[in-house]
């Protein structure tokens, strides 16, 4: 099990959303890709939103990875990301939609990719 840095979450879950109860857009998924928009950061941004924005400085992250990095529940990161999206500070890209059966070409490329890893 990975240890928590300093033994505590960076942002306590119950403080992280600044009282915002619900994301203002359809739910962001675990594999939705978040990236910073590069817009200037306004003053007075809630600390937890700032922490998420900070995490996106080095590149894109999925909601899932951001949650692991910030040591927050996925549901909390959804709320934070929605707030940043509303302010135009973050861009989000939805994952490929769930399918009853996936594109055979996609599956073949997954298989080829896995085989390629074996030969590294």
């Amino acid at each position: 099990m990975t240890g928590r840095r300093g033994g505590r979450p960076l942002v306590p879950a119950y403080l992280s959303t600044g009282g915002v109860a619900r994301p203002s857009r359809p739910q962001l998924e675990r594999l939705t890709v978040l990236s910073g928009s590069g817009e200037p950061v306004p003053a007075g941004l809630p600390a937890a939103q700032l922490a998420l924005l900070d995490a996106l400085f080095g590149g894109s992250l999925t909601v899932l990875e951001a949650a692991a990095l910030l040591e927050l529940p996925v549901s909390a990161v959804r709320v934070l990301a929605a707030g940043l999206l509303d302010r135009g500070l973050v861009l989000a890209r939805a994952p490929i939609p769930p399918a009853e059966s996936f594109d055979p070409d996609l599956l073949k490329r997954v298989a080829d990719g896995l085989r390629a890893l074996k030969h590294d």
């Binding site: 099990m1 990975t2 306590p12 879950a13 119950y14 992280s16 959303t17 109860a21 619900r22 994301p23 998924e29 675990r30 594999l31 890709v33 080095g58 590149g59 894109s60 992250l61 999925t62 899932l64 990875e65 949650a67 692991a68 990095l69 040591e71 529940p73 996925v74 549901s75 909390a76 959804r78 709320v79 994952p95 490929i96 939609p97 769930p98 009853e100 059966s101 996936f102 055979p104 996609l106 599956l107 073949k108 490329r109 997954v110 298989a111 080829d112 990719g113 896995l114 085989r115 390629a116 890893l117 074996k118 590294d120």
Partner: protein, 202 residues
């Protein structure tokens, strides 16, 4: 982490080439080797999210952690493999107990399939998981992790019968500590997904 690039602190960020993000569940009972398998193939250091067991059924209002003190959490670990061609494959370690059902449903949504791990010392510990996967309609393959102190050797047939597997469900033996072996198990699943014809309904 056999395929981890040189250790950089920003190693967690997605490669610029990331196009399609897909996921596979690594499912099985406690101690079967889920984390071990994920760590052996993941390019990022092992990470996890803390999930509340009630998560899928509650609203975000319940983020108020103070009121949620008694809620049980479970750590769900995950790993990532960036494949050539822009595909990023996520592996989610998912526990198989009935009380994880809501979480299972949320995480399995949109998954390509599941690799169900079976512990050679206690095959029956995977029954719940197999039931859950079958109910969800997610296509799956089974990987037997062999432990040195397993009581007796099963033939494939005995094992298939004990696990009540459909004839076309792949069954492979795997050492989750070994990256190549783990990738072979994943390949058995993906090949099964390709071969399913006509596609089963979810």
């Amino acid at each position: 982490m056999a395929y981890a690039p040189s250790s950089t602190t920003s190693g967690i960020h997605l490669p610029d080439t990331a196009q399609e993000l897909v996921k596979i569940l690594i499912a099985g009972p406690f101690g079967v080797g889920k984390t071990t398998l994920i760590d052996s193939v993941s390019e990022i250091r092992p990470l996890h999210t803390e999930e509340r067991l009630t998560e899928a059924s509650v609203h975000v209002d319940d983020l108020d952690g103070v009121r949620e003190k008694s809620t049980t959490t479970v750590a769900i670990d995950f790993g990532r493999l960036s494949l050539p061609g822009g595909i990023v494959l996520y592996l989610f370690g998912t526990p198989g107990q009935e009380r994880f059902r809501a979480l299972w449903e949320e995480i399995s949504h949109g998954a390509l399939g599941a690799l169900v791990l079976v512990d050679s010392r206690r095959i029956d510990a995977s029954f719940d998981m197999l039931g859950l996967v079958e109910e969800s309609g997610l296509p799956y393959a089974v990987a037997l992790n062999t432990f040195p102190d397993a009581p007796r050797h099963h033939t494939d047939e005995q094992l298939r019968a004990a696990l009540d597997l459909a004839p076309d469900t792949p069954l492979v033996t795997c050492d989750a500590r070994d990256a190549e072996s783990s990738i072979d198990a994943l390949l058995a699943l993906v090949q099964h997904l390709i071969d399913r014809d006509p596609p089963e309904h979810r």
